[in-house]
């Protein structure tokens, strides 16, 4: 599903002393079936942007188009609910949102809330749990008997159980150990590819943005300020540094090599591949010399 923001602003607590304009006239399109990484320093408006996609927040001005649905300030609740049915959202620390007495009850929460067929949803649970690396034997367990990483995966299986067309992931891997981190994002990227979703990943981790996203949007003070393919976005290392952001290590190393006269393309290479470039050029130098 294509998502388009047209002149969208969002202001929290309008009219109060704490009034805060979190998004400022945003124009942005997320193409259908792309995996977009959204980066930006804390407070730049990433989470607000995400909540506008599924109608948890409605624009103060402007409109958000989600497939054929258009959300604006006055959208009716029933209409918003139809949008929400298409959009799965994994918040930061989703394990804090588990509250059922069993894993099964928690996984049923989303489908029930959205009015989906409960029996059909239930039949899919074993497959979904297997997908996230857990077994169906945990269905009757209390979620609180699980480890943090397991709880996280249950919460995500619960969101996937609603079969969303759009998947919004707000730092889904924060706090996981490196193995769990990688496994979770690999799984979400695979699910995205297999089901032709439109996915948005909010992350502080530039390595993840580079590895998983097709497109990157950089937010600053309530506006997208840089966007494009990862290679193009990370070419602007100085602007990113000015926004308090890093570039991936591959970019750091290749830029230093370029400055020292190596011929390295501006692509994000895996370390083995960049090592390959070094080996090739050294052997050329040796032959010539």
């Amino acid at each position: 599903m294509r998502i388009t923001f047209r002149d969208v602003s969002y202001t929290y607590m309008i009219g109060s002393p704490f009034e805060k304009k979190a998004l400022d006239a945003v124009n942005l399109t997320l193409s259908s079936q792309t995996f977009t990484g959204v980066v930006g320093s804390t407070g730049s408006g990433k989470s607000t942007l995400m909540q506008l996609i599924n109608g948890l927040l409605l624009p103060t001005t402007g409109q958000v188009q989600n497939g054929d649905f258009i959300l604006h300030r006055k959208s009716k609740r029933k209409y918003v609910k139809q949008v929400r049915r298409q959009v799965g959202m994994v918040f930061q620390y989703p394990e804090h949102q588990l509250f059922g007495s069993t894993v099964e009850e928690d996984m049923l929460f989303g489908p029930k809330h959205l009015g989906l067929d409960i029996e059909k949803s239930r039949q899919r649970f074993p497959d979904l749990l297997e997908l996230v690396g857990l077994g169906e034997e945990i269905l009757p367990y209390s979620p609180f008997s699980l480890s943090g990483g397991q709880m996280r995966r249950v919460a995500i299986a619960g969101v996937l159980a609603t079969h969303p067309k759009v998947l919004i992931l707000d730092e889904p891997a924060a706090g996981l150990d490196p193995a769990g981190h990688r496994a979770l994002l690999d799984l979400l990227r695979d699910w995205h590819d297999q089901h032709g979703l439109t996915t948005v990943l909010v992350t502080h981790d530039m390595e993840d943005a580079a590895r998983y996203a097709d497109e990157i949007v950089v937010m600053d003070e309530g506006k997208p300020v840089i966007s494009g393919a990862p290679t193009d976005v990370f070419r602007q290392a100085d602007q990113l540094a000015g926004l308090g952001l890093d570039v991936p290590a591959s970019v750091r190393v290749s830029r230093a090599m370029q400055a020292a006269g190596w011929e390295v393309a501006d692509t994000l290479l895996e370390p083995e591949a960049l090592a390959g470039v070094v080996i090739d050029q050294l052997s050329t130098v040796r032959k010539e010399g």
Partner: protein, 278 residues
């Protein structure tokens, strides 16, 4: 070198029918050392950290911190003053309405008189770079500022040891860099540090790395030696920092042999100088 932390054969579990969460866990830390604690989720890192200032007590075994037995209830406030702890979530660590009052709160509890208190607030806020934020409400600060404010509240008590439990995992890159700078500064000033982290780049800053699995230390080496065995991390599906991974790949081709360098900038310099050496 006299050890400042001694954990001797600790056994711990949260419930009786549970398996051991710390399983014959022993560790000695020398004064001034910076220890990185790595491990999978659930391996017992936070449980171990909570033993160090008596938030948890072992079922058997002893913990000695700065000369005090942590099991000695009469000395528990001495222990907590000597060993301060910073947690992952910057939002859960404040009690007062302003940063200044928050630092003062800990000092009042420790019975520090007012003039000394003001002097210490001034000193620690400069140390961590929050001197302009003293009258701010904690929840208005950025993540990195919150963590530094939390650190200021602890170092105001002049601890010998600081324990950091995944303190950068919720921060953006700038906040993370700020907190790491503060940590380096504290260690230079002689504070012994236990830093629990999932971030291998952060672990590179430490003197020594321990790796926990199932309540045990399965590896305990100097940072230099720890990273000379990349396969240990790879077989546990931990992705190596990029520049180390690249060194491993180059070594396979016979380029830049010898020990793996743990400094990205130093190594990149060597790499960049290669063609001219040919």
């Amino acid at each position: 070198m006299q050890p400042i932390i001694i954990c001797d054969q600790l056994f711990f579990r949260y419930q009786e029918e549970q398996e051991w969460i710390l399983h014959n866990f022993s560790l000695q830390v020398n004064k001034g050392d910076w220890i990185a604690v790595l491990g999978t989720n659930g391996s017992g890192k936070s449980t171990f950290a909570r033993m160090l200032n008596g938030l948890l007590q072992p079922e058997s075994g002893t913990v000695t911190v700065a000369g005090y037995e942590v099991a000695d209830e009469e000395k528990i406030w001495n222990v907590r003053q000597k060993a301060g702890m910073v947690f992952q979530n910057p939002d859960h660590q404040f009690v007062a309405a302003t940063v200044q009052d928050d630092i003062a709160f800990g000092l009042e509890n420790a019975g520090i008189e007012r003039r000394e208190m003001l002097q210490r607030i001034d000193e620690v806020s400069k140390r961590v770079g929050i001197e302009d934020l003293l009258t701010a409400e904690p929840h208005r600060l950025s993540g990195g500022q919150k963590q530094r404010a939390a650190i200021a509240g602890i170092i105001a008590l002049r601890p010998d040891i600081m324990i950091f439990d995944e303190v950068t995992s919720m921060l953006d890159p700038k906040g993370r860099a700020e907190v790491m700078e503060t940590m380096k500064d504290l260690n230079r000033a002689g504070i012994s540090m236990i830093m629990i982290t999932h971030d291998l780049e952060e672990a590179l800053m430490a003197d020594r790395v321990i790796f926990m699995e199932k309540g045990k230390t399965i590896r305990d080496r100097t940072v230099h030696d720890f990273f000379q065995d990349p396969d240990f991390l790879k077989t546990r599906n931990f992705t190596l920092p990029y520049f180390l991974e690249m060194q491993v790949a180059l070594k396979k081709h016979g380029v830049l042999l010898g020990n793996l360098s743990l400094s990205e900038s130093e190594w990149v310099d060597r790499l960049c100088a290669l063609p001219s050496e040919m």
